[in-house]
């Protein structure tokens, strides 16, 4: 049986006046490539924040790598790629190398300098995302898709066991989305990296993912991608609250 990396049991969360999540139970196993889909306001970001420890659940239990989330110390095992649009200021004077190296910060720990092999690790991570030629370039001079690859390299450099990507295809040209998924699938298969990909757009969920979860305050579906493909677009639309078009 595969080892569970994330386990949520009856997790609920409420903002001041709005119920964001209700009785969420979800299990993500080692090696899974999960697409978590839901419309805007469905609670995706709240769920991510709960998993990442940025919010505490009102009720229920969250376990990370078998440990209670509030006692979990190995944050470096979780790589996180936030939504590019609200993540950074494009005028920031930083090279690609500096940005990727900063991904080692948590692994290295407080009061310690980067290790001697940090440059080697940075180059390796950039190679994994096909950005090794851009090492000395200013991050603000890159295209949206290239920046997103750099952010993935920043998450990969610490060699995480789990990679969480929040709306990673935003800012990437339609024609490059498939290549992007190919890269993620390569990391999932060859680096045995468990992935959670969060998106509001059902259209962008490709065959590369192994599992799909549909969220709209509660989980409406969680299962294999093949099973998800048998569900009608109308059914998904009723969960989502608007029409959808699946790609196969």
């Amino acid at each position: 049986m595969k080892k569970p990396l994330i386990e949520l049991k009856d997790v609920s969360f409420q903002y001041e006046y709005t119920q964001a999540l209700k009785n969420i139970s979800l299990r993500v196993n080692e090696g899974d490539f999960l697409a978590l889909i839901g419309q805007n306001g469905s609670g995706k970001s709240t769920l991510l924040k709960l998993i990442l420890g940025l919010l505490k659940p009102m009720s229920g239990e969250i376990k990370l790598f078998g440990e209670q989330a509030n006692h979990f110390k190995h944050r470096e095992w979780i790589g996180y790629v936030s939504q590019k649009s609200n993540a950074f200021n494009s005028g920031f004077p930083a090279t690609v190398e500096e940005v990727v190296k900063s991904g080692l910060s948590q692994k290295v720990g407080l009061f310690k300098r980067y290790p001697k092999d940090a440059d080697f690790l940075v180059k390796g991570a950039l190679k994994d995302v096909g950005m090794e030629k851009f090492l000395k370039r200013n991050i603000g001079q890159l295209s949206g898709g290239q920046q997103q690859r750099v952010f993935i390299a920043r998450a990969l450099v610490a060699d995480p066991k789990l990679l969480i990507l929040d709306e990673p295809t935003v800012g990437i040209d339609r024609e490059n989305v498939q290549a992007f998924y190919d890269m993620l699938a390569h990391l999932n298969k060859h680096h045995n990296m468990t992935m959670i990909l969060v998106t509001h757009d059902v259209d962008t969920v490709s065959d590369r993912v192994s599992h799909v979860a549909c969220l709209n305050q509660s989980i409406h579906f969680h299962g294999y991608k093949n099973d998800f493909d048998t569900i009608s677009e109308e059914q998904i639309a009723s969960w989502n609250g608007h029409s959808v078009r699946k790609i196969h």
């Binding site: 990442l52 420890g53 940025l54 944050r75 470096e76 979780i78 996180y80 936030s82 609200n86 993540a87 950074f88 200021n89 005028g91 920031f92 004077p93 930083a94 090279t95 190398e97 500096e98 940005v99 900063s102 080692l104 910060s105 948590q106 290295v108 407080l110 009061f111 300098r113 980067y114 000395k136 370039r137 200013n138 920043r154």
Partner: protein
């Protein structure tokens, strides 16, 4: 000038304090600018003024406090201001910038009351407002050196965390960084640097030494470390040229340092524009 520095202690104090401040102010300034906190430095400098005015008032009112160096109350006010700003920013989560006018006007208000109580401006207070070459004591120099050691230690210990926090706060928090505590420490160190810089640049102009060299550096730098090095070079240039001209022209060093910083910034903007124009023209000719 070199001969004068060798002969007069007050010039040694001013010159060495200036050189140290020329490094630490832009060094922290890079983090302040990229984190869009430039105005917070201004607010803190105004709170420092309240501490200075308070100290001058106390030294007038109580004979036992006549020898109290105003820099100490300035430091206490500045650090308290930084902690208060953080509390206000957390209280007004969606309007964080509200903390700046609250603290700034509070600082000026208290200063105005204390200055009135101390029977108005005197030359000592004027030197705190706009800096002075002659007013820096040996004790001030030691305080500046001690604060410089704190700044360098802080940056050695937290450089990588400060970079992560400055570049992408959400990512920093998600990766388990103690963002709140590092930010609070950062604000306290900023407050210390502001208090340290006021003798040379003056309270009203201190934030400019943290922002103008950085503004020039950011026009040229590709990377973060490059921006830090350039900001320090521009900061030192401004301090040295500013102090020398203040000495020879008998002007307030705060004014000369800031005007030099602005001239450096304008020069950098102009050179960058010319280089860009030239490179576009060359590329165009190559295409033809």
């Amino acid at each position: 000038m070199i001969e004068a520095i060798l002969n007069y202690e007050f010039l040694q104090n001013a010159f060495f304090s200036g050189l140290v401040i020329g490094v630490i102010a832009p060094l922290l300034g890079v983090f302040i600018v990229v984190r869009r906190l430039s105005l917070i430095a201004d607010a803190l400098s105004h709170v420092t003024l309240a501490g200075i005015a308070g100290s001058l008032y106390l030294s007038q009112s109580f004979a036992t406090l006549a020898l109290l160096n105003p820099i100490y109350l300035g430091i206490i006010a500045s650090v308290s201001g930084s902690v208060l700003i953080e509390r206000l920013r957390r209280l007004y989560k969606h309007y964080e910038e509200l903390a700046i006018p609250i603290i700034m006007s509070g600082g000026i208000g208290v200063s105005a009351i204390l200055i009135s109580l101390a029977s108005g401006f005197n030359t000592d207070l004027m030197s705190y407002l706009f800096g002075s070459v002659s007013a820096v004591s040996r004790q001030d120099l030691y305080v500046v050196l001690a604060i410089a050691v704190v700044v360098v230690l802080f940056l050695i210990l937290f450089f990588k965390e400060l970079f992560v926090l400055s570049f992408d706060e959400e990512y920093a928090k998600a990766s388990g960084l103690p963002a709140k505590w590092i930010h609070l420490l950062f604000m306290i160190v900023v407050a210390l640097v502001i208090a340290a810089s006021m003798r040379i640049v003056g309270i009203l102009l201190v934030s400019s030494l943290m922002t103008l060299p950085v503004a020039a550096a950011m026009r040229l730098a590709r990377g973060f470390k490059e921006a830090i090095i350039l900001a320090i070079v521009f900061g030192e240039l401004a301090v040295v040229i500013g102090l020398v001209s203040a000495f020879y022209l008998n002007l307030a060093p705060g004014g000369t340092i800031v005007v030099t910083s602005i001239l450096i910034l304008l020069l950098v903007i102009l050179i960058k524009k010319l280089v860009l124009k030239f490179s576009i023209k060359t590329e165009g000719e190559e295409v033809l």
